[in-house]
Symmetry: C2
Subunit: 221 residues, 2 copies
């Protein structure tokens, strides 16, 4: 890929020139290579970075402040890919309010989450927000008289574990970046992992809804 | 379950008295049985209805106007359970903006969604918003240079189909409502189906994030 001027970077990324300039000013996008007082050239790493910002903004629905934090750790080679993925995931909404400690439904749901994770042998930080998200949802399921029993938590957990393992393994297939700047492959891997985490979650939700419409058509239609 | 007064209905549902009164005024909750000028008694169907409203509001993150529409079809025995589930699902966000028709990424993604659904033999309305949600996400995946290949759409689709079939089948286990009012079991089934659709989607997202943290810990940790 030949170096690009601003107009081409904007066209290829689908990000308006004014927005690209804003990202440059705010340090979300590294500066290009200056070739004259008014010209700078941009490369594939700029295009990848703009794609990452768009994915987090448009699909991840993250505020720019959260994206700034994520880009800082993506670029920081001292942060491991695993730590970085955790930081990104922890920024993903929703962030439901935690019920008061004395709530018995909440206590039972928290215990259920801890027992499930332990019985599966999963390695998950005690402070992972997805624990809270799951417990809040289980508390709502228990509280709601009309909630159907469903196929059981383990069925969901095992389906998700299979997909997560396949997703993480697919990162091996990410081609090393071909940038003249010699940028580390750690940044490219980090970018891919972040994009995959955010976009495939949306793929799962959309396919789940489509599968449900089909199941409903067969059962009730 | 003995009939309840307002205070007990509020306590058991976790919905403040002022909010219960608002739902009554707005017709979201049917009136209780009046026993004197200032007293009315409420039963299990009121408790179930409040649970449904809370689930749609707190977990489905739906605006009250959408919930009102959903409750109207839940109560309308002329609408089939399948149609009702469609109407509920179509209210669930996010509702991403559709790119302009000429966008080639969008055209390719739409084709890919149509081909996937056809190859799986799924019965899905042409206007289902989940088609758009999936196509917008696939377009973002194709556009984003650093997107990892992932395990392929079919792997996600098959996992979701297995869960959806088990969820729908679990509705058979919903006990018939024991209400002295002789309320139809169609309403109870409809309420269960709506609660399950909204709450288990959140269960899936939370478990996916937990599974991903574990996969990342094993692979990169």
């Amino acid at each position: 890929m030949a170096p690009m001027l601003m107009a081409e970077l904007s066209r290829r990324s689908g990000v308006p020139v004014a927005t690209v300039k804003y990202y440059l000013r705010e340090g979300l996008l590294p500066p290009g290579v200056t070739t004259s007082a008014t010209r700078a050239e941009y490369g594939p790493s700029h295009l990848r970075r703009l794609g990452l910002i768009r994915a987090l903004l448009e699909i991840g629905e993250m505020p720019l402040a959260a994206i700034r934090k994520i880009l800082a750790v993506t670029d920081n080679e001292a942060v491991s890919v695993h730590e970085m993925l955790g930081l990104v995931q922890y920024e993903l909404g929703p962030h439901p309010a935690v019920p008061p400690d004395g709530d018995p439904d909440w206590q039972a749901a928290t215990r259920e989450v801890n027992e499930l994770i332990a019985s599966l042998g999963w390695i998950v930080e005690p402070a992972a927000p997805a624990r809270t998200l799951l417990a809040v949802t289980l508390a709502a399921l228990h509280r709601t008289a009309s909630a159907p029993p469903g196929p059981g938590l383990r069925a969901y957990a095992e389906a998700m574990a299979g997909l997560a393992a396949a997703e993480v393994a697919s990162l091996d297939a990410v081609p090393p970046p071909r940038t003249p700047s010699g940028e580390g492959s750690r940044v490219a891997l980090a970018e891919s992992a972040v994009v995959g985490m955010v976009l495939y979650e949306r793929v799962i939700v959309a396919l789940r809804r489509l599968a449900q419409e089909d199941a409903s058509a067969r059962y009730f239609g």
